[in-house]
């Protein structure tokens, strides 16, 4: 199979342009593409629309890109834990679109799966329903929601092979697989990059067809937001 390996995050993100729409995998700080975020920060790309369940914290994750004002708009389900985010939002510097988490996951999944719209019950009767078609099926009301797609999807996996097949670990999987499928260009950073044939075909979470570039990521901090311990 053709090799999709690039040298590292700088090469992987080199053609991300100003005003691009990006999807970034992760839930909180778990399973986020740390290496690519650092390279986008260094590159200084501006006016980004970021689709990501959360917006990081002040000094980590997408929060780093917020601090440098590289993000024009966030599309997320929950954006707490970020003071700079709050400041930019209140001052009108940053646009935010809040989407129910399941609807966000499904809209991204629909984007990758070629389904332009689907009905979901989440948000019926709430402000989320504003302007959306409502239809009843079997006595229950549903909203019509559209797919989400991106110029670039940036995902983080545990293991990957040179053909782009990916395996995630624990709950670091979260939004990564759907986002991998919904990007025009999908970039995967992995903790361990192996030759084709080393991953069990039955264990693969993201088939390589969805991935255009892959590299071995380095120096993962994997910061923990809520370190909770039992005695």
């Amino acid at each position: 199979m053709i090799s999709k390996v690039v040298s590292g995050p700088d090469e992987a993100v080199q053609d991300i342009f100003d005003q691009a729409t990006l999807m970034l995998g992760g839930f909180g700080l778990c399973g986020i593409p740390e290496n690519c975020i650092a390279s986008i920060l260094k590159k200084g790309t501006k006016g980004l629309t970021c689709i990501s369940n959360n917006a990081g914290v002040d000094d980590f994750g997408i929060g780093l890109l917020l601090k440098t004002r590289q993000v024009k708009k966030m599309i997320s389900s929950y954006v707490g834990e970020n003071a700079e985010f709050e400041r930019q939002l209140l001052s009108g510097e940053l646009e935010v679109e809040l989407i129910p988490q399941g609807t966000l996951a499904e809209r991204v999944r629909a984007g990758g799966a070629g389904i332009p719209a689907f009905f979901t019950p989440a948000g019926v009767g709430t402000e989320v329903a504003a302007g959306k078609e409502v239809r009843e099926f079997e006595g229950k009301k549903y909203l019509l929601e559209n797919w989400l797609r991106a110029d670039f999807s940036i995902v983080k996996a545990w293991k990957g092979d040179t053909a782009g097949n990916l395996v995630y670990k624990g709950t670091a999987r979260n939004f990564n697989p759907m986002m991998a499928a919904a990007g025009k260009i999908t970039i995967a950073e992995v903790e361990e990059l192996v030759p084709v044939g080393e991953l069990n075909p039955n264990h693969i979470h993201t088939p390589g067809i969805y991935v255009q570039r892959i590299f071995h990521g380095k120096n993962y901090e994997k910061r923990i937001e809520q370190r909770t311990i039992s005695k």
Binding site: F27, G28, C30, P100, T103, G170, T171, I224
Partner: protein, 218 residues
Amino acid sequence: MLDKTGIAKRIAKEVKDGMYINLGIGIPTLVANYIPSHLNVVLQSENGLLGIGPFPKEDEVDPDLINAGKQTITMMPGSALFNSAESFAMIRGGHVDLTILGAMEVSEQGDIANWKVPGKMVKGMGGAMDLVASAKHIIVAMQHCSKEGASKLLKSCTLPITGIKCVKRIVSDLAVLDVLPQGGFRLLERAPGISVEQIKNATAGSLLIEGDIPEMTI
């Protein structure tokens, strides 16, 4: 009057053997501590896990294993990991038996408000709208009144709502109540030391009181 632990303990009595349960942040999370150990239940974390275990010991902490509140966790034997689309497929598809979550207001129609206070920073609804729109059975853990003494069980919600006609049962610091299919709260149990009169005064929505209302046992 029940404290948070009391509310959690009372809700734990609603749990039945074999249930798959989603616990919201706050009091609902505490419920896990009081589920009788002879019951086999599976806790879902909407970020992609069935089978939440106890918090890890210091040397077990894994940054790649967190719950929806972003806390480090462990997995029970028999757990399954999946992506967020699958997780909400489970929720939306009615496969989760019980959802327990907090609320700022509940209306007598079963509407719930728990995600946004106008004028305050909006953090987002996370998975709450999906959960309330989809769950087969929703129990709300809440304070009956605000700190100023205003009822939070209302004719209709004053805050932006999270979902309509979804709450089935409420466990507050004062009482256990059901939301009737035709609308209205039905009083089922009083908290220890609380009178029916006190509950009446604390409930702005219409309240159905039939026969003797027992004091709850926890």
